[in-house]
């Protein structure tokens, strides 16, 4: 088909709409069912964190009482003194030593490992356990020996095998688990098989999309608001004094021209106010200024229109663009968020606009029929040199001061003994 008929185009549009709607919503829903990125620790870690720690990690100390010989080297070497060992003679068998007390104060232990080193049998050693919160600091003193049932000190027997070792961390874990207040980690979802991890695919920043949508919405709202306010003003004005009528002419065209230019101007201003990108704001400003110039032209202020273009657009805007370029190296300003909140600003605007509009439409302006359009340059020039001479001169002084001041303010201090900043 070379050309679609309006009906089929219409239907195709509807189709397109539904499809896109469906796609979007399905993407949304798919995220609901997806695994969260957030890892909830410690319940939903894929592996116990202690297994991810290095083997020589200095966690809680563990005493294997089957291997402890009662030499007390660990107690002596501890710089803080958090180990307390008491060795006695067995009442029944005086030749045998028994250990009646082996307390380690984990609140004081700084996990330096100075006690582990001198231990000849390796009874005391660090584990990879690090989770042992208690509600009371007194419970952090672990008693590895029971005073009512002292365990015998280990003596190496020639030729015999040493007693078997418990897995690292199992003893202290048992002791910690025995405390009230610790809960075993809960695993509520399938752990991923270790070794495979999902590749991190880059996605579009959802924030950007949302912000975009917000911006468009804001624009539509602003436009409709302005239209609504205008209608309102018209209603108000309908009950007031008759408005000044425009001079004769193709008023329809004039009006249309006015509305179009006004819209452009306002669009540009809206871009300045609401755009995310500062360069877009600058361009919006350009549009607004040009629009204003054309409004001046509409109002038969030809000199002013040109002056506007020359000075504002050619000077100020360029300056602004320069400034934007010079200062936009910082990432955050590129996204120039509204700080005090667009709602607050909107509220302010919504409070101010009706007042001004009401003033504009409801006031019975004393108008005169506009003079015939003609060049105004001569009149302005005359005015500058006759009636407005002093302000004219003062303005030139102001410009001079501005020139000097701007140079002074913006100049970078050059220090004699430092190289200047290459970035400036």
């Amino acid at each position: 088909m070379p050309q679609r008929s309006p009906a089929s185009e219409y239907l195709a549009n509807i189709q397109e709409t539904v499809r896109s709607l469906w796609q979007g919503l399905s993407i949304t829903l798919s995220h609901v069912l997806r695994r969260p990125i957030t890892t909830q620790y410690p319940d939903r870690t894929e592996r116990p964190v202690r297994d991810t720690l290095p083997v020589r990690y200095r966690g809680f100390l563990e005493v294997d009482t089957a291997h402890c010989g009662g030499c007390k080297l660990c107690e002596r070497s501890c710089p803080i003194g958090c180990i307390r060992v008491e060795v006695e003679r067995n009442a029944a068998n005086p030749k045998q030593l028994v250990i009646s007390r082996f307390d380690i104060d984990y609140a004081r232990c700084m996990f330096c490992g100075l006690c582990v080193e001198p231990c000849p049998t390796g009874a005391i050693r660090h584990t990879r356990e690090f989770e042992g919160s208690q509600r009371r600091v007194e419970n952090l003193v672990l008693r590895w020996a029971d005073p009512t049932r002292p365990f015998p000190a280990y003596r190496a027997v020639k030729g015999a095998d040493p007693p078997p070792r418990a897995p690292s961390g199992s003893l202290v874990r048992a002791k910690l688990a025995a405390w009230p207040g610790t809960r075993p980690a809960r695993r509520t979802c399938r752990p991923r098989p270790s070794g495979t991890s999902q590749p991190h695919r880059p996605r579009e920043a959802p924030e950007e999309t949302r912000m975009r949508r917000k911006g468009k919405l804001g624009v539509a709202l602003a436009a409709s608001l302005i239209g609504f306010l205008g209608l309102l003003a018209e209603r108000v004005r309908a009950g007031q004094a008759p408005h000044a009528s425009l001079p004769a002419g193709p008023s329809a065209l004039r009006d249309l021209l006015f509305y179009g230019l006004a819209l452009l101007t306002l669009a540009g201003a809206a871009a300045v106010a609401l755009s995310r990108n500062i360069v877009h704001s600058a361009l919006g400003l350009l549009l607004a200024l040009l629009g204003t110039a054309s409004i001046y032209a509409l109002l038969s202020a030809d000199f002013l229109a040109i002056a506007q273009v020359l000075v504002y657009v050619g000077g100020v805007l360029v300056l602004i663009l320069f400034a934007v370029m010079l200062t936009s190296r910082i990432a955050e300003t590129k996204v120039s968020n509204a700080s005090l909140g667009v709602p607050a600003g909107m509220a302010l605007v919504l409070a101010t606009a009706p007042v001004l509009l009401f003033a504009a439409f409801a006031t019975p302006w004393a108008t005169r029929p506009p003079p015939a359009p003609g060049p105004t340059t001569r009149a302005i020039g005359n005015a500058f040199l006759t009636r407005w001479l002093l302000p004219f001169e003062v303005a030139s002084l102001v410009l001079l001061a501005t020139l000097v001041g701007a140079v002074v303010v913006a100049r970078k201090e050059v220090k004699r003994d430092e190289p200047s900043d290459p970035r400036s």
Binding site: E234, A269, V272, L285, L304, A323, T352, A360
Partner: protein, 103 residues
């Protein structure tokens, strides 16, 4: 379509003013705030010119508008110079940083 008259131009000026106010009030970037100030001045200028055209006064409207343009240029210059100086010093032109008068 409404026949365009003085109130419409005043309305345009008012809206420009409001948008400029919005910009000044909500923007974080100092340069954006300056842009907003330009909008404000432009709105006022539109009012001046409209009154010159439709109002019952003399021709001081255009002259004032010229002055406004001049001064706006001057002010933009100085403002941007200040912004640049602040940027040199603070490495940031976020207006939220200029709150030494806080409290």
């Amino acid at each position: 379509m409404l026949p365009v008259g003085l109130p419409h131009f005043l309305a345009l000026g008012a809206l420009l003013f409001c948008l400029g106010l919005l910009t000044v009030a909500t923007r974080r970037n100092a340069v954006s705030v300056l842009m907003g100030i330009e909008l404000l001045l432009n709105g006022a200028n539109v009012n001046f010119v409209a009154f010159h055209r439709y109002g019952a006064g003399d021709d001081s409207g255009e002259v004032l508008a010229v002055f406004v343009i001049v001064l706006a240029a001057a002010e933009a210059t100085v403002g941007l110079a200040i912004v640049l100086a602040a940027f040199h010093t603070f490495r940031s032109i976020d207006v939220r940083g200029a709150d030494s008068m806080w409290g």
